[in-house]
């Protein structure tokens, strides 16, 4: 008798399970931006005076160590930056700070604390040892959503992702919620790179693991929960996937390489042809990578921009690279920082770049010697011109060799 009751109960649970699956949203294509043809842009740009890049610093919080800055455009055309600050990376006093950039006055407002360790652990009802890597995104309903990393035990390999949202552009925030992304006590999932929107308004959050495996994953986020995920790479060689969407079904992911010393230290690549449902490894980009974060954007004029440490080791040089379509070579269009000429002990670290593009503006932030966060605002016309100049220089140097 008990067996029959158990089987009937199982049948009921399975039917409820099927109903739950039935309400699961189908996988949607990416929300790809429209690419404006280069010819029409260039004829328009010929008349526009080039605006030079403007550089400044994110506001000082008095913390000894700052790192992992990120950006998002606000509805009033201003920018909000997030970064973590404390006595050192991974210390218990690390908080996530935020500040707003006024594009009219070209100034940053006073920094505020978005969340600290104690608030996070009380809201999440679990012990948290440290915070890190804030990554903002715009949710479908217009709210700001902030993803950040928390660690309860061990180093960054023990990370999990939490998220919270703001309906007033980052002035106040909801209680954080934990994203469950891994079956092994939810260990070792981190974020670093911007989220990408799907056509159904859900978010694709590129994440990565760095415990037993070091690989990238695309998390499909609905509100504050993961509703699906797909592996973007495997093994122990590629983290921090940066996804650039080419078309509704097509995207490329560029990674920070974490390979052994005997393997090529270049930027690994994966590609999807079905909106991120499956990814295939491609040939590396021929750009050196010293196991350091990269950032990039795809501009509306079709230009791909990357900012990276183009070295085999060390993070003392940071450059901006570009290419204007899938067939041409990557060109270094601007050297943002370079301490390579200095003695090794004098070289500073320029790392963790994060870049966004909004209209004709491209904004970049990066860690400057762990003491400050530098912000540079580029005009997309200036980038286009710099790319053309770099291509012309390459062509003339190749002709010179012949």
């Amino acid at each position: 008798m008990i067996r029959v009751v158990a089987l009937c109960f199982l049948l009921l649970a399975t039917v409820l399970g099927f109903l739950h699956l039935d309400s699961h949203p189908a996988w949607a294509p990416f929300q790809a931006q429209e690419v404006v043809s280069t010819e029409s842009e260039s004829s328009h740009n010929a008349k526009v005076a080039l605006i030079q890049p403007k550089s400044d610093w994110l506001p000082d919080t008095g913390a000894a160590s700052v790192h992992a800055a990120s950006l998002i455009s606000l509805k009033d055309e201003s920018l909000r930056a997030f970064w973590f600050a404390g006595s050192r990376e991974g210390a218990a006093d690390v908080v996530i700070n935020s500040a707003v950039f006024n594009p009219h006055t070209n100034t940053w407002g006073e920094p505020t604390v978005v969340i600290d360790r104690i608030t996070a652990e009380k809201s999440l009802s679990r012990y948290i040892a440290k915070l890190g890597n804030p990554v903002p995104a715009r949710a479908a309903d217009g709210r700001l959503q902030l993803f950040f990393v928390t660690v309860s035990i061990g180093g960054w390999a023990g990370s999990s992702i939490s998220t919270m949202s703001s309906s007033d552009e980052g002035l106040t925030w909801s209680k954080p919620q934990r994203l469950i992304t891994s079956p092994f006590t939810n260990l070792s999932t981190l974020v670093k790179t911007p989220a990408i929107p799907f056509a159904d308004s859900r978010l694709g959050l590129p994440a990565y693991h760095e415990w037993i495996g070091k690989f990238g994953e695309l998390l499909r986020i609905d509100g504050d929960q993961v509703i699906d995920k797909r592996r973007m790479s495997s093994g122990r060689s590629a983290i921090q996937p940066l996804v650039l969407v080419d078309a509704p079904e097509k995207a490329q992911a560029y990674f920070r390489q974490t390979r052994g010393s005997s393997k090529p230290h270049q930027i690994p690549v994966s590609e999807t042809q079905n909106a991120g449902q499956s990814w295939q490894a491609q040939a590396d980009l021929p750009i050196a990578n010293p196991n350091a974060a990269i950032t990039g954007v795809l501009l509306s004029n079709g230009l791909r921009i990357l900012v990276a440490n183009d070295l085999e080791s060390g993070r003392s040089r940071l450059v901006m690279l570009a290419k204007d379509n899938l067939d041409t070579q990557w060109q270094t269009i601007d050297v943002l920082e370079d301490d390579e000429a200095l003695a090794p002990e004098q070289r500073r670290e320029f790392s963790y770049p994060y870049m966004i593009a909004d209209g004709t503006q491209v904004d970049l932030v990066y860690t400057w010697d762990r003491k400050k966060i530098r912000h540079i605002r580029f005009d997309s016309n200036w980038i286009k011109q710099a790319c053309s100049n770099a291509q012309a220089k390459t062509v003339s140097s190749e002709e010179g060799k012949q």
Partner: protein
């Protein structure tokens, strides 16, 4: 549900800690406690873990443990609670078969096949099936039905409850795997299998010694 999710998870962890203490008490002091007394004792001990002790700690004890372990699967929770608190078999008797060996072996095989791929071996990620795979739900239901046919209806109830919990989003996870399996369940099943093999080998050796031809 979302408003109570953290409270529920903390209560579950506190009750789990209380239940483990009851199990330890029974094992160490070799006492057999009645079912009602076991439940009351576990609930009382759970209070120790649920409420902030407010000495040096910012959080309840259960929150510190949860920070390390995460949320346990429904299968782990229900198996532990039912075995320690509800079973009428003497829990001091380690020979008693609370859970069929076939189930433990199945857990070990599934876990050893699942975790390497889920943690990054190759591009196949079986953990992804737990979000929206009809095939995976059918496989889990068939496995649960086999348990009932194999005369362990408790296992069927436990897995059915895990499926129910997943379908109403009881925990933070939206993945069915997280309601069915966790590393602690795997570890328990593995240790139980090893212990059973060693016991059987010992028994075989002893019987061989007694009845060996002279």
């Amino acid at each position: 549900m979302k408003n109570f999710m953290q409270t529920i998870a903390l209560l579950e962890m506190a009750l789990t800690c209380g239940t483990l203490l009851v199990w330890l008490l029974q094992r160490n002091f070799e006492t057999q406690i009645s079912v009602a007394a076991r439940i009351i004792l576990a609930l009382l001990l759970a209070n120790l873990f649920y409420w902030p002790l407010d000495m040096f700690m910012e959080l309840p004890l259960a929150a510190y443990i949860r920070g390390v372990t995460g949320d346990l699967s429904m299968v782990s929770l229900l198996l532990l609670w039912s075995s320690v608190l509800l079973d009428r078999i003497d829990p001091r008797n380690t020979e008693a078969h609370f859970v069929p060996m076939g189930f433990k072996v199945a857990i070990v095989i599934i876990a050893f096949s699942f975790y390497p791929f889920a943690l990054g071996l190759g591009m196949l990620d079986p953990y992804g099936w737990g979000y929206a795979s009809v095939g995976f739900l059918i496989a889990v239901s068939i496995f649960a039905a086999i348990l009932a046919i194999g005369n362990w209806s408790k296992g069927t109830f436990i897995i059915a409850l895990a499926i129910l919990a997943w379908s109403i989003h009881w925990h933070e996870s939206a993945n069915l795997w997280d309601y069915l399996l966790d590393p602690f369940l795997m570890l328990w099943a593995l240790l139980a299998c090893i212990s059973s093999v060693r016991r059987k080998r010992r028994e075989r050796l002893q019987s061989g010694f007694l009845f060996r031809a002279g």
